[in-house]
Symmetry: C2
Subunit: 238 residues, 2 copies
């Protein structure tokens, strides 16, 4: 929730290079400037530059090759739910629309919640949001999101159609997703899910349960996602 007053240099360089890659300044297969060149360019020493590159490699933006250099590795991401970024950012939100089914509302946690909750989370109650996400006007995701009501003033009044929930949390509350865990299943569409995703009852649906860790210790974002994977696949890298 607190952003540090000074952003580390290696983080700055990471953000710069990441943006350049996403903006197409460096394209897939391109060689990044060498470590020594980056040192000169940005006035840093090699350990600092190497830390940036290491993080980039770790997040899958580049591959490092001893003797050659750092090569941009941007994957063709179909409808990729990117691990950390959530649905929107992965797709480039060009043709992705969001429809709020249940506006942000404060309520007690469900009794049989899919993940184990802490005392503090239970006491705080949960913010509940349900959304339908359409790709080219075809419903693809139906997601149910829950987050403990800890330090999230006025969240129930916020608007965020056509915008990632995660972006909203970052911009308004300085909450960043640091990682998480998920369970994946193939299930049969219930009547409700089938209606939302425009599927006949009994058709296969991808079911995800995710617990996402934030930079705010003890605060987690929980999502249950139903995906229509008839036309698209969930894409991921590891």
């Amino acid at each position: 929730m607190i952003s540090p007053r000074t952003i580390p240099q290696h983080r700055k360089l990471y953000e710069i290079l990441r943006k350049h890659i996403l903006d197409g300044v460096y394209r897939e297969g391109d060689l990044l400037p060498s470590e020594n060149e980056l040192c000169q360019l940005y006035g840093m020493t090699r350990p600092t530059v190497r830390q940036s590159l290491s993080t980039l490699a770790n997040d899958g933006y580049i591959r490092k090759h001893q003797g050659k250099g750092s090569i941009v590795h941007q994957l063709p991401r179909e409808i990729g739910i990117l691990s950390v970024s959530g649905t929107t950012s992965a797709l480039g939100d060009r043709n992705l629309k969001t429809k709020i089914i249940v506006k942000p509302v404060l309520m007690p946690w469900p009794d049989d919640f899919m993940f184990k909750l802490s005392e503090l989370e239970i006491e705080s109650g949960c913010i509940h949001i349900e959304r339908l996400r359409l790709l080219d006007d075809v419903p693809v995701f139906y997601d149910i999101n829950n987050i403990a009501n800890i330090n999230l003033p006025r969240i129930t009044a916020r608007q965020f159609e056509n915008r990632s929930l995660i972006e909203m949390l970052r911009d308004n509350y300085h909450i960043e997703i640091k990682g998480g865990e998920q369970r994946i299943k193939a299930i049969t569409a219930s009547l409700t899910i089938g209606r939302f995703l425009n599927l006949k009852k009994g058709q296969p649906v991808l079911h995800l349960e995710r617990k996402m860790e934030t930079n705010n210790p003890g605060l987690f974002l929980y999502s249950e996602i139903f995906c229509n994977t008839e036309k698209y696949s969930i894409f991921g890298e590891f």
Copy 2:
């Protein structure tokens, strides 16, 4: 394919600590020795120790907290297909059995292969293996594996029932999985798949297509996996 003659120190420490975590020397929630203590214990300097810890954190074995220390973070992995390690290592292969459906055989690549192949891969032909994996004698995974026939002498003669394909590649050919990408779908069980996984035709099945990168540039391991997720979920972290 070539293992370096000298294993770096940070790698050695990584392996030691990882083994200790997996063996239960350090348990979930435990505090690892501090960086300075590790320096003394293993005769390394802090950057070296920090690199080991950084990799461990990255692979999800520990979480680092400034001011506190490194805390062991072992996730309860249901039937987790661990991203890099493949199915076996994730589960601890206690109650997991493997049945070879199609023994390793050299054949030309299928015409409509799920991933784009390089010239070299096509020329080399592919090693094809089909397996059924049972958990507590219940069939859970049916997987089809393909790998280009590059520098894999006598692979068609190898035995590896009840053993990870990936372990076999590592032990016999020094091939390590470095990362990869995957597509996930929910599909309907075909007659064949249903028979293998003991499901009725039409039941939902999780379908994964994976392309795994190895330490041998240009050599990839391709897997198509069908999962019965009635009782178990696929577990992952990010």
